[in-house]
């Protein structure tokens, strides 16, 4: 494969929350890596070769070996670089962390796609679902500092990139995340105090601008 035999490369897209999970995990571990920005409308031969099945970012290339799917990449990073563990050591706690990270993907990500792509009744339903899903996450957070408890962990990494999309959800869905889930907003602010997070996430207004442009490009308006 035409890439460095050693070292770490991340094929990514600036606003992708899935890519940001990987950036946060690498930063938490203090791993140096080469960031390669992909054009999603003109994917590089490297990306297509590294992820022939899904042809999607992010892809982590470690010593020439590609790893795909953001949550799998984060777990791989956690297992290879064992400082600052992201997953709990107890199997039951680990199962709970995997369950909630999977929930973010199965429910919140799916909902968000509906929220900005549809209108009318379908959008109203997406809004209701989104609020319900956010409240479930808030319930799981409870009074903990982080989803990981006292320490920033796997579920925090999985979910925090979507906090940069809260403004977009609110504007598209016509609701307030702060009103519905104040604890989540407080948690997001707490996460942003970490350099790994603040340096990886983009300004919510930039994210919203991007979605507006994307909507125009896809003729969804």
């Amino acid at each position: 494969m035409a890439t460095a035999a050693k070292g770490v490369v991340l094929l990514d897209f600036w606003v992708s929350p899935f890519g940001q999970r990987c950036r946060i995990a690498l930063a938490e571990k203090g791993v140096e890596y080469e960031y390669k920005e992909e054009n999603l409308w003109d994917k590089s031969p490297l990306l297509l070769k590294a992820n022939p099945v899904h042809k999607k970012i992010p892809v982590l290339i470690h010593e020439g070996n590609p790893i795909c799917e953001s949550l799998l990449i984060v777990q791989y990073i956690d297992e290879v670089w064992s400082n600052n563990p992201l997953l709990p050591s107890d199997p039951y706690e680990r199962a709970q962390a995997r369950f909630w990270a999977d929930f973010v993907d199965k429910k919140v990500s799916e909902c968000w796609t509906r929220l900005w792509k549809v209108k009318g009744e379908a959008q109203e339903e997406a809004r209701k679902d989104m609020i319900e899903d956010l409240k479930l996450l808030e319930g799981e957070l409870g009074d903990k500092q982080y989803f990981g408890g006292e320490t920033f962990g796997f579920v925090d990494v999985a979910f925090v990139p979507l906090s940069a999309w809260f403004y977009t959800f609110e504007t598209c869905g016509n609701f307030s995340v702060e009103k519905e889930c104040p604890k989540l907003v407080a948690w997001a602010k707490r996460c942003m105090e970490r350099e790994s997070v603040s340096k990886s996430l983009h300004d919510p207004h930039k994210v919203y601008e991007y979605v507006c442009q994307l909507k125009k490009k896809l003729g969804v308006d």
Partner: protein
Amino acid sequence: MADKVILLSSWVSAFGLRVQIALAEKEVDYEFREENLFDKSPLLLELNPVHKKIPVLIHNGKPVCESSVIIQYIDEVWTNGPSLLPQDPLQRANARFWADFVDKMIYQCGSRVWKNKGDAQAAAKKELIGILKQLEGELGEKPFFGGETLGYVDIVLVPFSSWFYTYETFGGFSIEKECPKLLAWVRRCNERESVSKVLPDRHKVYERTCGLKKRLGLE
């Protein structure tokens, strides 16, 4: 304290069957409780309030949900015998990738084959064959996806083989013709008791699917 393990599942859930195979591979004694998916038990709704789905593993009173999460939990708690997941992080990531691929692709595509008709069914059939060929490619010349022994990807995929006859009959095609290596792999998996004792008969699955179609008004 002896472990108390209960599995809330259904004989006809490919996701539940995976967990049964994993428990059998680890020789874990457990109580199987059949759920009526049209009339879910209060226990199921209490233990999986988020998704309200089976399977749910209850280990000493604590619930674990989502089949792939459950299997990894089983592998980490019962460390007797061979690991279901590889030890090496890269191989482990690869195993998780293909298990995730099975999860994302087979159930929804296979369902479209038996739920739809005409063009929609033809498209689903083509897609399903593509998916199975990709899996066959990943298997390659190995006896199992896990290499020499049954592993995580094998356990995640093999229950769907009980649905192959259903897909073939509704879709009008032969999986053996399209993916002979995959069928050989299915037969190899069935040489293991953990698999053969758990997988339902393909005709029973087909009958049940026919009944489900009627119930859903999809005839």
